[in-house]
Subunit: 106 residues, 2 copies
DNA sequence: ACTCAATTTCGAAAAATATGGAAATAGTGT
DNA sequence: ACACTATTTCCATATTTTTCGAAATTGAGT
């Protein structure tokens, strides 16, 4: 993963509303959730929600699929895994770096 | 970890300059790096660097320690671990969720 | 074609962020 | 106290982000 892409995904998640939004989609699981249902849970205007959703889709963290008039949104797990992988690799927080981490924690 | 804190850390890392900066500090390891040394590697004005560094320190991703006139900066591994842990827990990307992840990858 | 519901785009204002030059500060040695 | 270096704060500006009402669009059913 390139640094630029990681940064854009981190920035996308670095907004409380979007992080909450992403969390909601994760919890919805493989079935996903319609934009309207998400709106009901977040209670923000549809235009605002649409902008935030677009940001998550553009950065590859969320996918969308039409079902009749509703748009189903799903958390894109591989996308998140790649991001976590990048952080772990770059930032030394995985098992391979456990000694350093342990030391830092001590 | 609270959602708000996670969001602020993600936002802090979600800027290419700051992510690069954080990467440099991670690679510097436990010895850390003086602000001036970081500046040499990034080639940005000191005031700009100082602003970005402050953001990382404020969000708990970097620590600083004075050594004479220089300020040593270090990546705060536990902080990053907590963040990755939050993402993994909230976002279903860890081993416990491997089935879902595998399905998504297929 | 018409209508209804779901969602996005347009347009515009307020707020936050990013950037950096210049001045101020902090810390050490003399 | 002074000089020197390292770093931050002050200040201002350009850019980006956030927000959302209103209008436009999309898709399905009639």
């Amino acid at each position: 993963m390139k640094l630029e892409k990681a940064a854009s995904q981190l920035e996308a998640l670095g907004n409380p509303t979007r992080l909450q939004l992403y969390r909601i989609l994760v919890r919805a699981g493989d079935d996903g959730l319609a934009v309207g249902s998400v709106q009901g849970k977040l209670d923000i205007p549809s235009s605002t929600l649409s902008h935030h959703l677009k940001r998550l889709v553009d950065t590859g963290l969320v996918t969308q699929e039409r079902q009749a008039t509703t748009l189903i949104c799903r958390a894109n797990y591989p996308g998140m895994n790649a991001l976590i992988g990048y952080l772990a690799d770059e930032c030394c927080a995985d098992a391979a770096c456990a000694p350093a981490v342990g030391k830092a924690l001590a």
